[in-house]
């Protein structure tokens, strides 16, 4: 009986699995022990030299890191697949998480040792917006990588207001000015204009708000003191939270009219034919910091050597991703397309990862820096990046009251840890795996990027003067204003 045999086979499969976990060590030890010993003796001569440098071993070798299915988790997948974690003596398990809140909670309660986080998450958690916990980061995972997508219906409605070039193709970047008439129309008809973003303190939320506000559409305020954490006070466009992989499906269902999310979920909308990406975050703010690798402060204090080893492996992975002008990207895409990582089709992921971006179906344009993992010191945790996120939290009311410039600096220093990064980088340089020229000059670096000008509304950002920066915006809280 075929069925009977299958059952038996399933049973065997189960037993085998159990067996494997039970004696995966001992049997193996016996079998390969001799071979390893022999190899060890042969290698002995060459390793004596290395042992002259006193080597520190990580305090915790088995680690579990969480991630969300997005292409910018790539440094984690590469560090695992290329054996960089193992090179540091770390045995890492990578686990996809359901959404950003679950991910953060699991890092806080210690189920995860660390995770791929939104840049605003460690900051938000540390200042106590949402869940309160001291989270730090010593590694910035990438720059750019997000886009704003609207549904086909909204695109048809806004397209007449989009400036075109002589071939009739839309001129990029498309500003929210083109969306404003559509939002106004919905408002007049009394229909709420709903859009999705991935988390209240996510880059996407701030980018979407920045873009909308630059086009005169009010994205709404938060008022945590009054118990309002939905962020829709005085809003023209109502933003709500949806986990990244569910964005396309939620938009398809008509619950939201557009969203801001990381890749591949914008390109997925193009492939599914359900929406049109209108702008990438590269065009909203050129080379904006995106994800970070976050761990709890407690964890970092308990396992400093492990933390450094993790950062080392991630730096190498980031370098690999950008090496030789993105030459490794196709291989990276192949890894990311595996079901346990991002799992979307190769073509969908490749679209953005290999330096192009498809807007309207067929309108594929070159965006070589759409995903940056290592260039432009992408991995270095700049204080100025942290301060920018804090200014946006203030702008939209997540930070309810005016704070002095020194507060911004204090929080940035509490959360962003370039000291750990430079230790890790120095070790990589000493080991000959990287060269000093690939990093900022650690002796001179003060952690602030030069004032940045590449914003869609042309406003210059200087991380040293957060309060002055906020005064530049028409929409948003500044000075002593309160909701």
């Amino acid at each position: 009986m075929a069925v009977g045999r299958l059952f038996l086979w399933l049973e065997n499969e189960g037993q085998m699995m159990k067996k494997r976990t039970n004696d995966q060590g001992s049997g193996f030890l016996r079998k390969t022990g001799l071979a390893v010993l022999a190899a060890g003796i042969l290698l002995g001569g060459s390793t004596v030299l290395n042992s002259a440098i006193a080597k520190e071993y990580p305090e915790k070798e088995e680690l579990k890191f969480g991630f969300i299915k997005l292409t910018d988790m790539a440094p984690l997948a590469i560090a695992y697949e290329k054996g960089y974690f193992e090179d540091e003596g770390l045995y890492v398990t990578l686990e996809a998480q359901a959404n950003w809140k679950v991910l953060l909670d699991r890092v806080i309660d210690g189920e995860l040792d660390g995770a791929h986080m939104l840049a605003g998450q460690p900051l938000g958690a540390t200042i106590g917006f949402g869940t309160q916990a001291h989270i730090i980061t010593a590694f910035s995972m990438d720059l750019n990588g997000n886009a704003i997508t609207v549904s086909n219906k909204i695109w048809d409605e806004m397209k007449p207001f989009v400036p075109k070039d002589k071939d009739g193709k839309p001129v990029h970047p498309i500003k929210a000015d083109a969306l404003k008439p559509v939002v106004d129309k919905y408002k007049k008809e009394g229909k709420p204009f709903k859009m999705g973003m991935v988390f209240p303190v996510s880059t996407h939320n701030y980018e979407l708000r920045y873009w909308l506000a630059a086009g005169g559409i009010h994205p709404g305020f938060y008022a945590p003191a009054k118990g309002d954490t939905s962020g829709t006070l005085k809003a023209d466009a109502l933003l709500s939270v949806t986990p990244p992989p569910q964005m396309p499906a939620t938009m398809e269902a008509g619950t939201i009219y557009g969203y801001c999310v990381g890749e591949p979920w914008n390109q997925q909308a193009v492939f599914k034919g359900i929406g049109v990406p209108v702008i990438t975050d590269y065009e909203i703010w050129k080379n904006n910091p995106e994800k970070v690798f976050g761990v709890s402060k407690e964890w970092a204090d308990k396992y400093p050597i492990t933390h450094k080893a993790v950062v080392k492996a991630l730096i190498r992975a980031a370098k690999w991703l950008d090496e030789n002008n993105n030459a490794n990207r196709p291989e990276a895409v192949k890894i990311l397309a595996k079901p346990q990582y991002v799992g979307a089709d190769y073509e969908v992921i490749a679209n953005s990862m290999t330096g192009t971006f498809e807007y309207e179906k067929g309108d594929k344009r070159e965006v070589p820096d759409f995903n940056v993992f290592f260039r432009y010191n992408a991995t270095y945790p700049f204080y100025s990046d942290a301060v920018w996120y804090l200014t946006q939290m203030r702008r939209w009311g997540q930070v309810a009251e005016q704070k002095p410039d020194s507060w911004y600096m204090d929080i940035a220093k509490k959360v962003y840890r370039p000291d750990i990064y430079s230790e890790a980088a120095s070790e990589l340089i000493a080991e000959g795996k990287m060269s000093a020229g690939e990093f900022p000059d650690f002796a001179k670096e003060d952690g602030f990027r030069a004032p940045q000008t590449h914003f869609i509304d042309g406003i210059t950002y200087d991380g040293h003067k957060p309060n002055d920066y906020l005064k530049n915006f028409d929409i948003g809280l500044k000075g002593k204003e309160k909701i």
Partner: protein, 340 residues
């Protein structure tokens, strides 16, 4: 034939086997042939029609992930999943080799180091997930049976106890697993704290959720089975002056077995359904998580892979039920009882 204690034919519930046996013995040959062909041929035709209809209908349904996969595509993904499993196993072997090497190396620099072999860190494959799900459902079900059968027996024997417990049972019985899950998750994370846990928290959560949903059919059916033991048999036990224990073991349990097993079978199939839902919602490892992950991936193969999982879930559910039936036949004293 009727005197055999262990009868292959009736044990496997294989009517057609009996028919073949009959045919070989030359009994009513023609009738047997008709019977065999009916029992084999009709299901076969039905399945073929189903596959054809599925194939035809699937190609008509356009989704945002392409057309709905037909049988061919699903079969292709089954092979693909098996291949992935093999690749993962090779990787696992290499992983342990590297680990041995690294440990040996470290021992040379750091003689105090106690080499440790860590389990493979790769992602679980489809077949690993099947194993996890089976283990979880088995744990949850056994736990539930251990609790439910004794409760059912005492409830069946004592009308007072039955009246006391009945309202509780009736209230908890219809509660959906999805309502239990958040409670169980939070309680388990609060109570199950240890530095080196024997089982993963996710495993405990899923298993307990399964237990909570498996309890009720077994309790109710056992109660009914025990309380409806033939009065004559009870009178016999009274005449023979059997002790309480002997009476339970020799008379009540055997006569209650069929009902008890009906409860157990119901419980097991409920448990299996509950588990998949729980795994999906709580992101606990297992087949439910596999389905959810594929749903999230949204690749062009995702739908076919989900269908593979759906079929496997169905098949396993069926096999679990058959397994219980088999067990029931082995322990039931009444060989004439019709069991299906």
């Amino acid at each position: 034939m009727s005197t055999h204690i262990f009868n292959t034919c009736s044990t496997f519930n294989a009517l057609w086997l009996e028919r073949i046996q009959g045919a070989l013995q030359g009994e009513r040959f023609v009738k047997m042939t008709v019977g065999v062909s009916r029992n084999l041929f009709i299901p076969f035709v039905a399945i073929a029609i189903f596959l054809a209809m599925w194939g035809a209908a699937a190609s008509k349904i356009e989704t945002s992930l392409g057309t709905l996969p037909g049988p061919a595509k699903v079969w292709e993904q089954t092979a693909q999943l098996y291949k992935e499993h093999q690749v993962s196993q090779e990787k696992e072997v290499a992983f342990y080799q590297r680990q041995e090497q690294r440990n040996a190396e470290r021992l040379k620099h750091d003689p105090d180091y106690e080499p440790k072999i860590r389990p493979y860190t790769g992602a679980p494959t489809f077949f690993d997930q099947i194993g996890t799900s089976l283990l979880t459902v088995a744990t949850g079900f056994l736990l539930a049976s251990l609790i439910a059968i004794p409760i059912g027996i005492v409830c069946g024997m004592s009308a007072t106890l039955y009246q006391a417990l009945n309202p509780l049972i009736q209230i908890f019985k219809p509660v959906s697993p999805l309502a239990w899950l958040p409670l169980v998750t939070i309680v388990v994370s609060a109570v199950y704290v240890s530095d080196d846990p024997l089982f993963a928290k996710s495993f405990v959560t899923s298993a307990i959720t399964v237990t909570l949903c498996c309890l009720w059919p077994t309790i109710i059916n056992t109660t009914v089975g025990v309380s409806s033991v033939d009065k004559d048999l009870l009178n016999v036990s009274r005449v023979l002056r059997l002790g309480w224990f002997t009476k339970t073991v020799k008379i009540i349990l055997p006569s209650a077995t069929p009902m008890m097993f009906t409860g157990l079978r119901l419980s097991l199939s409920i448990g299996w359904m509950v588990l998949i839902a729980a795994e999906m919602l709580a992101q606990n490892p297992g087949l439910g998580k596999f389905v959810w992950d594929e749903f999230q991936n949204g690749s062009s193969d995702s739908l076919a892979r989900i269908m593979v999982a759906v079929l496997v879930i169905g098949l396993i559910g069926f096999l679990l039920d058959r397994g219980m039936l088999l067990l029931q036949r082995r322990v039931t004293w009444d060989r004439n009882a019709v069991l299906r």
